[in-house]
C-alpha cells in the first residue's frame, strides 16, 4: 500500500509521517511539492512543519503549490488525504476542509501530551478507533486555534464532521474544543495534534497514533 508524504519547503514532520506509515505496514512514498506527480499513491499525508516559514498565513503558500492542485483534484475524486498540524492548515487554505486555524489564544507555541476524544470512527483515517475512544498524542503548535462562524460550526456539528475534540484541557482555545474535522465524504481528515509522534513506546507518550495509519491501509483495501 503506497502512502504519499508531501515535502514542502519547510516541512518538518515528513520523516515522522513516513516512519508511521512504515510501522503500520505501508510503503511511504516521498512526494515533492514542486512536481505534478502523485506517483500513483493510494493516500496522501500532508505533514507538520512550517511550510514557507508560515509566511503570509500558515499553509497559505503551500496550498497553492503545483502538487496541491493535483491533491485537490484527486481528493474530490475520493483520494484519502490526512493533514497534520501544518498539513491541516494547508488543507483549510486549499478549501478541502472548512474553517481556519489562528494564533493560539494564549499566544504561545505549546507542546504537550494531549488527550483527544474520537468523535467519528468511520472516516478513512479513523476506522481502527471506536467512537468515544480517548487517545493520547502530542500537540505542538502556535497557530492551532480552530475557528469558524457559529453558523458554520453548527452546520459542521450537525453533519457530524468533527472527528476529534480536545479532552482534559483545550491547548489553544479552539472553538468547541475541536481538534480535527473531516470532509463531507469522510475521506479527507485534518487535525492539529500529531498522531505520527505517538507510534512507538520509546519516543512517544503512547502508541495511540498508529491507528491513523493502520486505518488508512484497511480503508484503501476496502475501497
Amino acid at each position: 500500500m503506497r502512502i504519499g508524504v508531501i515535502t514542502f519547503p519547510g516541512s518538518l514532520d515528513d520523516v515522522d509521517a513516513a516512519r508511521a506509515v512504515r510501522l503500520a505496514g505501508g510503503d511511504p512514498v516521498s512526494l515533492w511539492h514542486g512536481e505534478h506527480d502523485l506517483k500513483d499513491v493510494d493516500a496522501v499525508v500532508l505533514p507538520g512543519g512550517f511550510s514557507y516559514g508560515d509566511y503570509l498565513r500558515a499553509g497559505a503558500i503551500a496550498a497553492r503549490s503545483p502538487l496541491m492542485q493535483d491533491v485537490v483534484a484527486a481528493a474530490k475524486g475520493g483520494l484519502p488525504v490526512l493533514g497534520i498540524c501544518n498539513g491541516f492548515q494547508v488543507l483549510c487554505e486549499a478549501g478541502l476542509l472548512p474553517g481556519a486555524l489562528t494564533r493560539n489564544s494564549h499566544l504561545h507555541f505549546r507542546n504537550r501530551d494531549q488527550l483527544l476524544r474520537v468523535e467519528r470512527a468511520d472516516t478513512a483515517w479513523t476506522g481502527d478507533y471506536a467512537d468515544g475512544q480517548e487517545i493520547l498524542v502530542p500537540v505542538k503548535n502556535g497557530e492551532g486555534r480552530y475557528v469558524g462562524s457559529e453558523a458554520d460550526l453548527d452546520r459542521l456539528e450537525g453533519e457530524g464532521r468533527v472527528v476529534f475534540r480536545y479532552v482534559g484541557g483545550n491547548p489553544n482555545g479552539s472553538s468547541r474544543d475541536i481538534a480535527g474535522v473531516t470532509s463531507e465524504n469522510g475521506r479527507v481528515v485534518g487535525l492539529m495534534p500529531h498522531p505520527e509522534h505517538a507510534v512507538e513506546d520509546l519516543t512517544g507518550p503512547s502508541t495511540d497514533g498508529l491507528g491513523f495509519f493502520t486505518s488508512i491501509l484497511k480503508a484503501v483495501v476496502a475501497a
Binding site: H106, H194, E196
Partner: protein, 764 residues
C-alpha cells in the same frame, strides 16, 4: 560610487587618519597591522582586522589558557578536535557526532527574541558546516532576579526566540537550564547547544584547497544587519549624502531560509559537490574567507560586487563585515559548479560564485575591479594578538569563603523542614520549567527518547541498531563564584553524572565560558582557575574537550557576573531502549541513594533560597567517585536493574525526590538516617537516587564498584512521606512546584503581552 579606499590609495596616502580606536583596536594592534602590510590598511582591511582581532573572534585574552584543553591526552573517540567549527566524536557503528555550545548573551539583552533566535541559528550552522545533519538543540539560560521588571522583558522574548527558531528548523529541544541570579540583571546569558550526526566519511572541514576552485556564497542575501562598529567607517568612506541609516546591530533571523539551507547543504554533501565549507557567523565574509584561505594551502580572490545584496547602498567594508544570518560559503571544483547551483535552485536557495582559490598566499578582494584588500589571510584569521592578561585572586574571596553556610540557622522542627523544602522546590530555580519547555518542540524527527525535565536528553541515531546519544548542559555559577577551579569541576561532574544517570557512557566535553571583563585581573583569575579546573577534571575523567566558546565582558557596569562555565557532556547509548528515566512510574520499587552525603551547604540552593546567602566552600569534588558512580549506572542500565535514576544537584535530595515523584505522580514512603536537614538539603556531589525491584543485586554491584548505598524506602502512594519529618500530598507539592513560573511570566491560560513583532516570525 564614490571614493573607495584602494590598496593603491593606501600606499600613496600612508598618513591618512584611520578610526582604529573607534573600531576597538589598540595602538599597538594598529601598528602591527601596518607592519604586516608594510603600509596602512585600506578601510576594508582595517574593518576586517578590527573585527577578526576582536575578543569575540580572536580569543586573544583566553587563548593562552584554552591551550590546556588541547594538551589533554589523546582520546580514541576524538575524530576532529579543537580549532574546527565543532569537534567530532566517534560514537560507534561508523557514526560520528559533532556538538558545540555557543553564547549569544549581549544580543539577547538588546533584542531578546532575535538575539536568542540567531544564537540558535548560528550554532546550528556550525554543526551543519562539519557535514552533519543537526538533530537536536539545548539551551542554557540565565536571567536576573525572576521578579525583576527587566526579567519580564527579556525572558519571554528569549524563550520565544529559542523556540521560534528551533521549532521552525525542525530540531527537537531536548534540555537545558533556566536559572536566576541578580548578577545577570543587566547581562542575561543565552547559551545554545546543537548536536549533529553523520557517518565518519562525511566529515567536512573549513579550508580552501585546489587552485581554480570556485568560492560560492549561498543562502540569504547580505544586508546591513549586525554590522555594529563598522558603521564608523561608513561615514569616512562613502557618499556625499552621508551614511545610510543602518539596521540595528542585532541580526535578524529567518529560520525558514536556514531550514532550506540545511536541506540544500546535506544534499550538496551527499552528492560530493563541496571540497570545503564555512558558515558565516560573527564577522561574516571577513571571517569565512580569511579562515577558509588561512586553513588551506593557497590564497583566495573575491570579487565583492558579485555578493547578492538586500541593501544596494552597503559599502564594501560593510559587506565584508555584515553578520546577516543564514549564509554559507563553499569551495567547489569548477566542474561541479553547475550541479551545485542546481541543488541550490531546487531548495530555493540563492547562490553566487564570488571568487576562486588562487595560488600564492594572499587573500585579495576587488570591488568593481579595484583592489581593496590584499592581506596574508593567516594574519587576519589565526595570527591575531594574544594577551597574557594580569590576574589577581579576588580581594573578597577569603571573606566570602569564611562566611560558612553551615552556620546559618537550620530548620528545627518538621514544620520548618517542610517549609524550607517547599521554598526550595518552588523557588524560580527549583520550580517546574514547563512554562518554558512547552514552547519548544521536543518530538520532531521522532527520535527523542528523553527530553526535559529528564537529567539528560537522549536521542536515537539509528532506528535499526537503537544506538543513541545522551547530552547534558550544566553550569552552577554559585559554586564557581566561591571557587572557580572546584566550581568548574562540579559543573563538569554534574553534566557527566546527568548523562550517566540515563545509563549512557560519557564520551566528550564541550563548554561555554561566560565571564566578566578580561581587563579586570580578578575576572581573569576566575577564568584561568575555571579553565584549569575543567582541564584537570577532564583529565581525571578521561574525556576530551572537543571545542567550546568563550564569552567575556558579561557585566553590568563594573560588576561582573558570577563566573559561569557551562559544561556540556556527550554520552553514548549502545541501545537507547535501555535508557533510565528520572521519574518514578511504578509503586513498590526500593528507593536507594547512591553516594555519600556530607554536611555541605556552601553555595547550596537552600542557603540561597532560604537565607539569601552565598558563602563558604562549595561541595568537595571526588572525580574518582563520579567515575565509579557512572560505571555503576551504566551497569544498572545494561542489566535493566534501575526503574529510575535521578541525579542530585541543586536543592539536594529534597529537589530530586520532588521531581521523581511528580514526573508520573507516584509518591514514596521514606526514612532518613541521621540528620534529616543534612540528608535533604546538602549538595554533596557524586550522588544519584535510583529505584529498583532488585535492591540486593544493586547493592552487590555497588559494593563491587565501591559506591556507598543507603536505602531510603519504597515508592508508592499519593504522597511523599518522610517518617517523622513530613508528609506531603503530591497535589500540594505539585501546586507549589508548578505555580511559580506561570505566576511570574503570565499564566498559560492568560495571554501575555506579545514581545514578537507581528508578522516577522512564524508561529505555528
Amino acid at each position: 560610487m564614490t571614493s573607495v579606499d584602494t590598496v593603491q590609495n593606501a600606499a600613496q596616502h600612508p598618513d591618512d587618519e584611520q578610526p582604529w580606536a573607534e573600531l576597538g583596536l589598540k595602538a599597538d594592534e594598529y601598528a602591527r597591522i601596518r607592519e604586516i602590510l608594510g603600509r596602512r590598511p585600506t578601510t576594508a582591511e582595517l574593518a576586517m582586522y578590527s573585527v577578526m582581532w576582536s575578543e569575540h573572534c580572536s580569543y586573544k585574552s583566553s587563548k593562552v589558557h584554552l591551550r590546556q584543553f588541547g594538551d589533554l591526552p589523546k582520546s580514541d573517540a576524538l575524530l576532529v578536535g579543537i580549532g574546527e567549527n565543532a569537534g567530532v566524536v566517534d560514537v560507534g557503528e561508523g557514526y560520528a557526532v559533532t556538538f558545540k555550545v555557543e553564547s549569544h548573551n549581549h544580543p539577547s539583552y538588546v533584542e531578546p527574541y532575535q538575539g536568542a533566535a540567531t544564537g540558535v541559528g548560528g550554532i546550528v550552522r556550525d554543526i551543519l558546516t562539519m557535514g552533519a545533519r543537526p538533530i537536536a538543540v539545548m539551551d542554557s539560560l540565565r536571567f536576573g532576579r525572576a521578579d525583576a521588571p527587566d526579567t519580564a522583558r527579556v525572558l519571554p522574548g528569549v524563550v520565544a526566540g529559542v523556540g521560534g527558531y528551533g521549532n521552525c528548523l525542525g530540531l527537537p529541544n531536548i534540555g537545558g537550564e533556566l536559572l536566576f541570579d541578580e548578577c545577570y540583571t543587566g547581562n542575561p546569558l543565552v547559551n545554545a547547544l546543537c548536536v549533529g550526526v553523520m557517518k565518519h566519511d562525511d566529515v567536512h572541514l573549513a579550508k580552501a584547497e585546489g587552485v581554480g576552485n570556485k568560492v560560492i556564497l549561498f543562502g540569504a542575501r547580505t544586508g546591513g544587519d549586525g554590522i555594529g562598529g563598522v558603521s564608523v567607517l561608513a561615514s569616512e568612506t562613502f557618499d556625499a549624502e552621508g551614511p545610510a541609516k543602518r539596521a540595528p546591530a542585532v541580526q535578524v533571523g529567518d529560520p525558514f531560509t536556514e531550514k532550506l539551507l540545511i536541506e540544500a547543504c546535506l544534499e550538496l554533501f551527499a552528492q560530493d559537490l563541496v571540497t570545503g565549507i564555512q558558515d558565516l557567523g560573527g564577522a561574516g565574509l571577513s571571517c569565512a574567507t580569511s579562515e577558509l584561505a588561512s586553513a588551506g594551502t593557497g590564497g583566495m580572490h573575491v570579487d565583492l560586487e558579485t555578493v547578492p545584496l538586500r541593501d544596494s547602498t552597503l559599502t564594501p567594508a560593510e559587506i565584508l563585515m555584515s553578520e546577516s544570518q543564514e549564509r554559507m560559503c563553499a569551495i567547489v571544483e569548477p566542474g561541479k559548479v553547475e550541479q551545485f547551483l542546481a541543488v541550490c535552485r531546487k531548495w530555493d536557495v540563492r547562490a553566487a560564485v564570488i571568487g576562486e582559490v588562487t595560488d600564492g598566499d594572499r587573500l585579495t578582494v576587488d570591488w568593481h575591479g579595484e583592489r581593496i584588500v590584499d592581506v596574508p589571510p593567516r594574519t587576519v584569521a589565526h595570527e591575531g594578538p594574544v594577551y597574557e592578561r594580569p590576574m589577581q585572586r579576588p580581594a573578597d574571596l577569603d571573606a566570602l569563603r569564611a562566611d560558612d553556610a553551615g552556620k546559618l540557622p537550620r530548620p528545627g522542627t518538621p514544620a520548618e523542614i517542610q517549609a524550607h523544602w517547599l521554598a526550595v522546590v518552588s523557588s524560580p530555580d527549583g520550580a517546574d520549567k514547563s512554562w518554558v519547555t512547552e514552547q519548544y518542540d521536543r518530538y520532531v524527527r521522532g527520535n527523542t527518547v528523553l527530553a526535559q525535565p529528564e537529567d539528560a536528553g537522549v536521542i536515537r541515531i539509528d532506528e535499526d541498531s537503537h544506538r543513541g546519544i545522551a547530552l547534558s548542559l550544566d553550569g552552577n555559577a554559585r559554586f564557581a563564584r566561591l571557587d572557580p577551579y572546584t566550581g568548574a569541576q562540579l559543573n563538569l561532574a554534574e553534566a557527566y553524572r546527568n548523562v550517566a544517570a540515563t545509563g549512557a557512557t560519557p564520551l566528550a566535553v564541550t563548554n561555554c565560558l561566560n565571564f566578566g571583563s578580561p581587563e579586570n585581573p580578578e575576572v581573569m583569575w576566575q577564568f584561568a582557575e575555571a579553565v584549569r579546573g575543567l582541564a584537570d577534571g577532564c583529565r581525571a575523567l578521561g574525556l576530551p574537550v572537543t571545542g567550546g566558546n568563550v564569552s567575556l565582558y558579561n557585566q553590568t557596569g563594573d560588576v561582573a557576573i558570577n563566573p559561569t562555565p557551562v559544561i556540556g557532556v556527550l554520552g553514548v547509548h549502545e541501545d537507547v531502549r535501555a535508557r533510565i528515566p528520572s521519574g518514578w512510574r511504578t509503586a513498590g520499587e526500593t528507593v536507594l541513594l547512591l553516594g555519600e552525603t556530607r554536611p555541605e551547604f556552601g553555595g547550596s540552593a537552600w542557603a540561597g533560597v532560604v537565607h539569601g546567602h552565598l558563602g563558604g566552600q562549595p561541595p568537595a569534588v571526588d572525580l574518582a567517585a563520579e567515575r565509579a558512580l557512572a560505571e555503576l549506572l551504566a551497569a544498572l542500565g545494561r542489566d535493566g536493574l534501575a526503574g529510575s535514576a535521578h541525579d542530585l544537584a541543586d536543592g539536594g535530595l529534597a529537589q530530586a525526590l520532588t521531581e521523581s515523584a511528580l514526573r508520573y505522580g507516584v509518591g514514596a514512603r521514606l526514612a532518613l538516617h541521621g540528620d534529616a536537614f543534612t540528608a535533604l538539603f546538602s549538595e554533596s556531589a557524586a550522588r544519584v537516587v535510583v529505584t529498583t525491584t532488585e535492591p540486593d543485586r544493586v547493592r552487590n554491584i555497588a559494593r563491587a564498584a565501591g559506591v556507598p548505598v543507603t536505602e531510603l524506602g519504597t515508592t508508592g502512594g499519593g504522597s511523599l512521606v518522610v517518617d517523622g519529618v513530613l508528609e506531603l500530598p503530591l497535589a500540594e507539592l505539585r501546586a507549589a512546584w508548578s505555580a511559580t513560573l506561570p505566576a511570574l511570566f503570565g499564566g498559560p491560560e492568560h495571554g501575555t503581552a506579545l514581545t514578537v513583532p507581528a508578522g516577522t516570525v512564524p508561529t505555528s
